[in-house]
Symmetry: C2
DNA sequence: GTTTTCATGTAACCCGTTACATGATTCA
DNA sequence: TGAATCATGTAACGGGTTACATGAAAAC
C-alpha cells in the first residue's frame, strides 16, 4: 500500500518483465531507455519497489550475502537485492498494458506507454496514438482561439513563445500521423503473450514499428 | 512566509506589474499568455497571493464592498480583491529579472523567463538564451552516448521514441540559435525601467524580438 | 590507498492538485 | 428563476525531490 505512482509502477514492471534487476540498475534504465521524459530519484524508486513487493508483484532475491539470510537482515555485509517479476506481477502488468483510457495519452503517461508499445497489442496502440492526437488537436484549438482574442495585448516575445509552442504541438501531431499510418499499414497483430514468448524477434520486418524516412537520425556518425 | 513557488511568484509579480488584477483573472492570464507550460489551480494561486502580501510585495484593494471594510472582513457581501504591486514588490521583481543563474534555463523556469523578456535587459536575455542552449546541448550529448551504448538492446519503438526526443531537442537548439542571432543583431539595449515607463513601444522596430521568418504562423486564416 | 562508482535506504520537505464550501453576478 | 460563470478560499492528499546515512567493490 501507499506510494503507488502509476507511471513509475508501470515502468518498473515493464522493465523487470524483460529481466530481473536490482534497484540501482533499474533506475539507470528508467532514466536512459525511457528517459528524457522522467528522471526518478532513489527516494522515489526504493519505496515503490517495497510497495510492489508488498503487493506480491515482485520478489526480492538477495545475491552476495550468505545464502539463507533474508534481505531484511541488514546486519553485516549488505547484499544486492535483485527484483524479479512474479506471475501475478506479470498478469497485473498485462492488464495495465491493455488499458487505453484517457490518462494513457496525457503528457506524463504517453511517453512511458509508447516505450512499451513493443509489448502492446496493436488495437491498444492505435487507440493510444489516436487518443493522444485528438488530445493535442484540442489543445491546438484552444491555443488558436486564445491567440486571436489576446493577440494585440501581447508583446513580441510572448507571441514568439506562443508561436514556438504551437509549432511544437503541430510537429508532434505530424509525428503521430506518421505513426498511425505506419500502424495501419503494418500486418503484425502481435499480442503481448506472443511477444513475450518469442525470444528473437529481431529478424524480418514484422510490421509494427516506424522505420523512419530519410535515414536513421540515430546514426552517431556525424 | 511558506509556500513560495519561485516560478509562480515570478509570474504573478510580472503580470501584476503591467496592471492590477484579481486572482481569478490572474489565473486565466497565467494559463493562456504564459500558458502551455504550466497550469496553476486556485489552490496554488490564492495561498501564494497571501504570501506575497505578507511579504509586502502586493497590497489587496477591495472593490465592491463598503469602502473602508478591510478585505479580511468576510461578513456579508464578499468583495473582489484586486492585487496591486507595491514599490517593494516592483523592486523585488526587477531583482529576480536580473538573475541569470543556472536555474533560469532549466525546463520549468525558462518558459516563464522568456515570457518576460520584454522587461529584461538584453545582456540577461543573452545569458539566459545561451545558458539554455548549452544546457540542451549537453543533454543531447548524453542522449547520443547513451544511445550508442544501448542501441542493440532497444526495440524499435523505444528507438523511435528516443529519436523523436532528440529531434525535439535539436529543434529547440536551432530555435535558440535564431533567437540569439536576432538578439545580437538588435540595437536596442533596453533596461527594465525604460520599458516600464514607455507606454507605447509598439511602433518602430526597437531591435529586440524575433520577427519570425516565412510569415507569421500565428495567422489563424488556415 | 584513496577516489569513484556502485548500491540501499530514510526523513524532511516542497510544490502542487483535488475536492470541497461559499457566495455574487450575468444571461437565457 | 435557474443555470453558467465569476470569484475566493481551505483541508487533505499525492507524488516527487533533497539531503543525509551507510557501506561494498572497482579503478586509478
Amino acid at each position: 500500500m501507499s506510494r503507488r505512482s502509476g507511471i513509475l509502477e508501470f515502468a518498473v514492471l515493464g522493465l523487470l518483465r524483460e529481466s530481473p534487476m536490482h534497484g540501482y540498475e533499474l533506475r539507470k534504465r528508467l532514466n536512459t531507455s525511457l528517459g528524457v521524459f522522467r528522471a526518478f530519484s532513489y527516494g522515489t524508486l526504493y519505496p515503490c519497489l517495497k510497495a510492489l513487493v508488498a503487493n506480491g508483484w515482485l520478489v526480492e532475491e538477495t545475491s552476495g550475502g550468505p545464502e539463507d539470510v533474508p534481505a531484511t537482515a541488514l546486519t553485516g555485509r549488505r547484499a544486492k537485492i535483485v527484483y524479479r517479476l512474479t506471475p501475478a506481477g506479470k498478469e497485473h502488468f498485462e492488464e495495465l498494458l491493455s488499458h487505453s483510457g484517457p490518462d494513457a495519452w496525457e503528457d506524463e503517461h504517453f511517453g512511458v506507454r509508447f516505450a512499451f508499445f513493443g509489448q502492446t497489442s496493436r488495437d491498444v496502440r492505435m487507440r493510444v496514438l489516436e487518443g493522444r492526437r485528438s488530445r493535442l488537436e484540442e489543445r491546438l484549438e484552444k491555443m488558436r482561439t486564445s491567440l486571436t482574442r489576446t493577440r494585440e495585448r501581447l508583446d513580441d516575445y510572448t507571441l514568439e513563445l506562443q508561436r514556438h509552442g504551437m509549432e511544437s504541438v503541430e510537429r508532434e501531431v505530424r509525428w503521430l500521423n506518421e505513426l498511425i499510418e505506419s500502424e495501419r499499414a503494418g500486418r503484425d497483430q502481435r499480442a503481448p503473450e506472443a511477444a513475450a514468448q518469442d525470444e528473437h524477434n529481431q529478424s524480418g520486418d514484422t510490421g509494427g514499428p516506424p522505420r523512419h524516412r530519410g535515414g536513421s537520425r540515430l546514426d552517431p556518425s556525424e
